[in-house]
Amino acid sequence: MDPIVQVEGLRKVYGSTVAVDEVSFEVHDGEIFGMVGPNGAGKTTTIECLEGLRKPDAGYVRVLGVDPQRDGQILRLRTGMQLQQSNLQDRMRVWEALDLYASFYPKTADWRELMAQLGLEEKRDTAFSKLSGGQKQRLFIALALLPDPQLVFLDELTTGLDPQARHAIWDLVRDVKARGKTVLLTTHFMEEAERLCDRVAILDHGRIVALDTPEALIRNLGVEERIVFNLNGKLPEGFENALSGKIRIETQGDRVIIHANNGRKVPLVSEVVNLLTREEIPFRDLRTEQPTLEDVFLSLTGREMKE
């Protein structure tokens, strides 16, 4: 089966700034594909080239098998798009927006059903300007799903939302996937990409620096995992040698941090807990710190992700 989205050597320049350079990837049917990176990494430019809203300077782009520049109308009929910056009229009500947008397509999903599924039924008669950030985004998702599209673009869907609203939106995106639709999203939250996406492209300065499943990205980079706990007193001599593999122990007063490479045979945490129990060493507040995509980004670019 042909990929839903095919991008090869995409390049877009604004004046003297290269926004996107040599970007290539494919999105497969039924997956949630994420582009993640800091602001200005080129995510939105890339997605807008795919949506047909921007004209690439170079490269090959096919979405649902068509060229977005030449056959934009086909894409507008068969994809759903949620944009980073867009609005509806302040005084337009939720049901009116759905009803109006439904009239643009020859065939649509039932907007009343969508309104219920996205939890907007109670807000049916509420004006757009009176909706919360999360409700506005849910309405935009509903509008994007109206044409019953094969592919949904979601650009910075949860930016500006509080954590609770963000988690609710994640569940909705998983629902979209469960309906058999392909999702292409951008985000600058590493956690969002990690929790939501089947595959992730990490962008930095307009280039893809890594592309894989979140698990593989974390595993392959050999980023460390950490066990942190507090002790009354000191660790006995030779504790380090009693643990398997290559580890490093760091102490900060009462706190002990054990670093180990990711991807061990025996999970580090069970080995440490077993050893502490066997040696009858009293410990408290033990927790593990798994590496995240955040760590992957840090090790790939040498920089922290900033909001």
């Binding site: 507008r76 944009l83 009229q89 005084r91 109006l100 009239s103 643009f104």
Partner: protein, 247 residues
Amino acid sequence: MKSLLKMTWMEAKLFLREPVSSFFTLVFPLMMLFIFGSIYGNNPPPGSNSQGAIEALIPAFTAMIIGMIGLMPVTITLAAYRENGILRRLRTTPVNPLVVMAAQVIVVFAMTSVGMLLLITAGKVVYHVRFAGNAFSLLGGFTLASLSFFGIGFILAGIMPTARTAQVVAMVLLYPMLILSGAAWPRELMPATVQNISTFLPLTYVVNLLSGLWIGEGWGEHLLDIAVLAGMLLLGIVVSVKTFRWE
């Protein structure tokens, strides 16, 4: 077609929900009519010809509505739709930009017509005004004048960089025009210099045309007015199509 109908209906609702634009189109001209009516009744105003004051005011106030609608709601709505990303959202759908423009034109034209009908009805019922003209030629003149003024609004929305500047420029153009063109006060009562200045104001031609048609003059007697307004309409169409931007 379905989308044009829905869009037009939606825009009509939004127009009426916007208190400022519905007040100035539908209520304010009526208020003016009653204020002037309570001062003069339908007697000829001092220094004017023999036409009753209210009879002279109805076409003039209709011109006022046309001027206000063309410059304020049309300009502000379009510029704000672009600035706020409303057009951007529409652009991701298969809807044709002409549908967006057409819905605007239909709605503001309908609102202007309602404004005029309210004036005529109030004039007939309260002041028993006489209408000596031909209804069809008045309607024709009204349509031409309205569309050519919407054209100004479309041009401003198209060429001004932000909604804010479009609004300011629209107001700067509108207020002198309302006062000097004879839409709010008969031109004959103004000094000659002011009358000369008013020949440069497009709204003056609307006032002349509608006032003439109201008292039964034919289109043939207003060729200059018609030429100016038709020219504006043409310019409006060309410029608004050329300058249309989604964002």
